[in-house]
Symmetry: D2
Subunit: 280 residues, 4 copies
C-alpha cells in the first residue's frame, strides 16, 4: 500500500505523520506541491493525506488526486467548505448548530447601513485567512470606514468581502477541539494574551487542556459530520451566559499547541485512522 | 410562493427570467447582492435563483440562502465546482468524461520543467476568470517565462495558479451546450473570429446552431450530473479526428447568443423548471 | 500657438479651461491619455497643460511631453513631489516650513515600537491617494494592528508604506489655498461634516471663503516655490493654539468647491497665466 | 564625521562599502530601513549613502534624510528619475542622447492600435522592476493580448503601464558602464545566455570586460549628468550597425559581476568619492 503526503511547508505536524507512516510499514510518497506539477487523472498512491498550509493549494491538491479516483484526506469537499468562513458558517447553520450572528457584505455599498444596524462592537474579517489576520473589532464609524476603504483596494473578491459578526464577549478564551473520523479526540482552551483580544496562538494566545465533557463535544462531532471531515479542528466561542457558538472549522488542523497542552499525539492518531480507511 | 432572483448586473438573461417569473403569478423578490447585506440563516423566499455575474459573489449568495434551508439554483456545490476550472476538470475526469490533458502548477518553480515536458503549443490559464481573459497559447519559452513572471505578481493564489492544457487544435470552433434539470436543451458552435484563436463571444466569436445529435449530448448530460447542476452550459472542444473533450462548465450561463442562434427561449425554460421544482 | 490639454476624466475644471483656451484664439489640442499612446520625444504643442486625475498618469504625461523639450504645466518635477506625501513633506520641511510631526514606516516590522512611541491618537495614511481614502485616526493598538495587517497585503510598496502623523486637532477644519505662478489666488476653510473627522469634500466636507490675510499666505507661496509649482493647491492644518502646519500640496488641483465659495474663476486665471508663459 | 549607510538586504556591495567606511576612520551608522522608522526632519549623519534594494524604499530613505538638510547619495531626485523607466528615458531623451524608440500606453485601450503601428517584434515592460522581470519580446497579436490582459489585473498603475520599445537586435549583448561623480569608472559587456534573449545577470547573463574607449563613455557621463547622479550604472544597447542607445540608468547599482570582470573595486571608489564630498 502506498500513502502520499502532500505538503508545502513541512511543520512539526507533518514530520510526526511521516514518521508514523514509515513506522507502519507502508510505502510513503512525499509530494511538495510547490515544486511538483500535479496532473489531472494521475494517481500516486492509494490514499493522499493533504497537509498543505496554503488553503487554496490544499484544495487543488485534494481535487486533483480525487480526479483519478484516489481518496484524499480531507476530501476536496471538506477543504472547500472549511477554506472559506462563509461556506463553513452557512453549512454549520444549515444543520442546526448555533453560530454567531453573521452578516455578509459583498461590496462596500451597504457599509453605512450595516454599521447602523449591527450592535457595536462587532467583528469584521475576510472569509479567508488564518491566524487571526485582518480580524478587526470595530467600535466606531471612523475605524469601520477605514477598514472598508482598505478592503476595497484588494484584488481578490474574497478579500473584498466582509464577514461581519456579533462580538461574542466571553472570558477571553475560546475552545478548540479536534475530531478524527467520527471520534472526539480532545479539546483545549485558547486564552488571549496581554493587550490582544484575539486568541490565536500566532498572536500570543496560550493553550490549556479542557476535559472532554459538555455540549462542545456533541457540537464538534456534528460540525465534523456537516463538513464531511476526516480530520478537523473546530473553534467554539463561549459567551458570558455559557452559550456556545461554532465559529470556524479547520480542514488542515495545526495541533502542536494542542499536543503540548493535552499530551495527545494527534499526528499518530490521524495516521492510524488513515491506515484503517486505506485498508478497507 | 415566493421566488427570489439574486443579481449584481442585470443582463438580458435576467430580464427575461424576471418577466417569466412575473407572468407565472408567483411573488418575485429581486435582490441586488451589491447593495443588500446577506444574513446567514435568513430566508427571503422558497427558492432562490442565483444570477450573479461575479462567480465568487454567486457562490456566497447561494450558500447563504442555503444556510436557512432554502433551495438555491444552482446550488452552492454546483457553483463551487463550476467556478474554478481545476475543480471542474477534476470532477469531470473522475466520472470518466474525456478532458484535455491538464497539468496544474501551484507555484512558478516547476515552470521550466513543465515547458520541457509539455507538447507545444499549449494553453495556459488561471483557474478562475471568464470570457477567455488571460488564456494564452504558449509557443515559445520566452513567452512562457513572461506569463509566469506576470502571474507570480498577482495577489490571489487562484490567479498565481497555472492550468496548463494541451492545445486541442480543431477547426477553430467549439461546442456550447445547455442543460436544464436532466434535459438537454440545445447546442451551438462558437466559431473564432479573424486573428483571435479563442472562440469566446466577448472576443468576437460567432455562434451557429447545431443539431442536438451526437456524443456531445450524452457528455453534456453526464457533466451536468457530475456537478449536480440545475442549469448549466458546457464547453466541448473537438479535435481534427472528431474526438470531443469536456473543458468547462458554467454555473451561471449566459445565453443571449445561444437564443439568437437557436430561437430557444432558455430563460423561460429555466423559469418553468424552477417553478416545477419549487412546487414539489 | 498650440496648447495641449492632457486629461483622462474631464471634470468641470477641465471644461472651464478648454473654453477659456478656445476663447483666447490659440490652437487647442485635447489629448485623452487613456486612449492615445504617448511617444517619447514627440511634441504636440508649445505648452502642455496636465489635467489628468490619476496622479501616476499625470506624471507620465508631463515627463513624456518634456522629453521633446515642451514645457509641461505642472512640470514632471512638481507632479513627482506633489504626487507622494512623503516627497512633499520632506521637501516642505527642508525649506523650513512647519509640517505635522511625521514618521515613516517602510515595513510592518516596527509597528509595535511606533505605536508605543507616538502620541495617541495619530493619523495613518499611505503616501499616495486622494479624497482622504484610507486615512485613519488610530486610537488603540487593536485598530493599529488591523490597519498594518491590511496594508501589508497590498501589492504596491507605496500602499504598504505608512505615513504616521501627529493628529493636529483643531476646530474640525483646515485651510485650502491656491497659488498660480507666484501669486496667491485665494483660500477657503474646509469644514468636516457630521460624524466624519476628515475634511475632504468627497467625504461631505463643506467649504467657506477665507480672507487672504495671515501667515498661511506666505506659507502657501513658499510651498509653491519649494515644489516649483505653476498651479497648486495646499492643505494647511491649524491647531487649537493657532499654529499652522503645511500638510499636502496638490499638483492637479480641483477647484469646483473653491470657485463656488469664493467666486474666483480659477480655471480662467490659470489659462491666462499659461498663455503669458507660452508667449514668452 | 558620521556617515550613514541605509540598507534593507545587505549584499556583497554593501559589505565592501561598510568595510571601506570603517577603514577610513569615520563614524559609521548602519540603518536597516525595514526595522527602523524614519522621521521627517531628523538627521543621523553628515552624509547618507542609500543602498536599499527596493527602489521605492530607497527613494523614501533619501528624501527623508534630505528633509533635514542632510546630503543623500544618490539624491532623491536621482533615485526618482532612475527608479522609473519612463522618467529615465524622457530625461535622457531631453538632453539629446539616443534612446530606443519608445511609446507609452497608460491604459489597455489603445493596445490594438499600438500593435498595428509598432514594428514587430517589440519589447514590452512595466516602467518599474529589476532583473528583466516581466520584460517581454512581443512577436504576435495573441501574445500581446495576453500580456495586456495580465497587466490590466495589476493593482498599481505603474504595473498597469506599458513601456513599448523597438527591439534593438544586436549581437546578444549590451554594455553596462559605471560612473561615479563625473568620472567614468569602466564598462563591461553583458551577454545573454542560452535560450534567454534578455542579458540580465539574474537570468544567466555573462559579463566580460570592455575597454573604456568609444562613444559609450561620453554617453554614460552625459546620462549621469542628466539624472544628477553621484553613483550610477547605465545600460546601453548596440544595434547591428553599431549605433548605441541609452536604455536604463540604475540609481542603486549592483556591481558584483562588474568587479569580477574588471577587477575594479567599485565599492571602495564610491566610498572615497563620498568621503571627498562629505569633507567639502
Amino acid at each position: 500500500m502506498r500513502i502520499e503526503l502532500l505538503y508545502d511547508m513541512p511543520r512539526l505536524e507533518e514530520k510526526i505523520m511521516i514518521e508514523a507512516l514509515r513506522a507502519s510499514g507502508v510505502d510513503v510518497v512525499l509530494t511538495n506541491v510547490d515544486t511538483r506539477p500535479l496532473v489531472i487523472g494521475e494517481a500516486e498512491s492509494d490514499l493522499s493525506l493533504v497537509r498543505v498550509v496554503s488553503m487554496q493549494k490544499a484544495l487543488y491538491s485534494a481535487t486533483i488526486r480525487e480526479s483519478s479516483g484516489t481518496r484524499a484526506m480531507n476530501s476536496s469537499l471538506t477543504l472547500m467548505l472549511c477554506g472559506d468562513k462563509i461556506l463553513t458558517l452557512s453549512k454549520i447553520n444549515s444543520v442546526g448548530l448555533r453560530v454567531p450572528k453573521t452578516t455578509v457584505m459583498l461590496s462596500p455599498e451597504p457599509a453605512e447601513l450595516v454599521f447602523r444596524q449591527f450592535p457595536k462592537p462587532f467583528v469584521d474579517k475576510p472569509p479567508v485567512g488564518s491566524w487571526g489576520r485582518m480580524v478587526t473589532l470595530v467600535r466606531d464609524l471612523a475605524t469601520w470606514r477605514s477598514i472598508v476603504e482598505h478592503r476595497s483596494m484588494m484584488q481578490s473578491q474574497q478579500l473584498r468581502t466582509h464577514v461581519i459578526q456579533e462580538y461574542v464577549e466571553g472570558l477571553g478564551r475560546d475552545i478548540r477541539a479536534i475530531v478524527i473520523g467520527s471520534e472526539f479526540i480532545g479539546a483545549v482552551h485558547r486564552i488571549s494574551s496581554g493587550d490582544e483580544w484575539r486568541t490565536n496562538v500566532a498572536l500570543g494566545g496560550k493553550t490549556a487542556p479542557l476535559k472532554a465533557d459538555g455540549e462542545f463535544v456533541e457540537m464538534s462531532l456534528k460540525a465534523a459530520e456537516a463538513v464531511k471531515g476526516d480530520f478537523i479542528s473546530v473553534d467554539i466561542l463561549e459567551d458570558r451566559e455559557g452559550r456556545l457558538y461554532l465559529n470556524e472549522v479547520n480542514g488542515v488542523p495545526e495541533f502542536k499547541g494542542f499536543m503540548e497542552a493535552t499530551g495527545i499525539n494527534v499526528g499518530e492518531l490521524f495516521v492510524k485512522y488513515a491506515l484503517r480507511v486505506a485498508k478497507r
